[in-house]
Symmetry: C2
Subunit: 140 residues, 2 copies
């Protein structure tokens, strides 16, 4: 059996690649808007799909409710997000982006598209498709 190399070990490679791409894209939402990763994801969900409760964000984004709770508070402080207590179930709040939050979303969405295109440009279409499908398969 041949020498096992860390450089081929999938958890190692995934971790390195994820760290690098995270650091790169973080520059967009952190430097420009002082946001953390979970905050950006929530802005994405609200911007892309509109008003919803924290519970819906949790299930859509595979995020724990404690992460969402803290990120929602942070976004509210930045005036990117507004809450509206539900009248039918007073435990829930409807969350939505403010005008400012929507503007941030549009800019972030564009940056994400650009990032994705630049990224895809490093690979053939087949390679990119296989990579994407493989990563999706892994997260199921």
């Amino acid at each position: 059996m041949p020498g096992f190399e860390l450089e081929n070990f999938i958890p190692y490679l995934l971790n390195r690649a994820a760290e690098k791409s995270s650091r790169e894209f973080q520059a967009v939402y952190k430097q420009e808007y002082g946001m953390l990763r979970t905050e950006w994801r929530i802005v994405f969900h609200l911007g892309r799909y509109g008003e919803m409760t924290a519970r819906e964000i949790c299930s859509r984004g595979a995020l724990h409710k404690t992460k969402v709770s803290r990120a929602v508070s942070a976004l509210e402080e930045k005036r990117f997000l507004a809450r509206k207590r539900s009248e039918t179930d007073r435990r829930e709040e409807y969350l939505s982006l403010t005008r400012q939050g929507k503007s941030v979303f549009r800019k972030l969405e564009n940056s994400a598209r650009e990032y994705q295109e630049r990224f895809a440009g490093n690979f053939t279409q087949d390679e990119f498709r296989i990579l994407t499908n493989a990563l999706k398969k892994l997260t199921e």
Copy 2:
């Protein structure tokens, strides 16, 4: 332009996949030996390539010297690693695995091989090769 989806965004997919595989393989080195990620990587380097200094581990493993310093101390406390002050340059130490450390390395290496094979089994050879190459390309 079509709706941008987080589910296709590469930094998101990479992060999710990396987290999952990290959690899975962590079970091996953490539960069995109480080790953290950097500690396992250092055990790997010393087990695979033999005695070397912290500086060499840093460059081989793309790890910062502060991470290595702390992980080396932790491995020493667990009696998995021994240090020997260099006589030619008294700033350096030669690091190597103890007998116990070597035994741990062999078990971890086997677990890593098994993990890798199980992982590869989810894909065709072509897919696996493309995935691996893509991830390597990303970390360059």
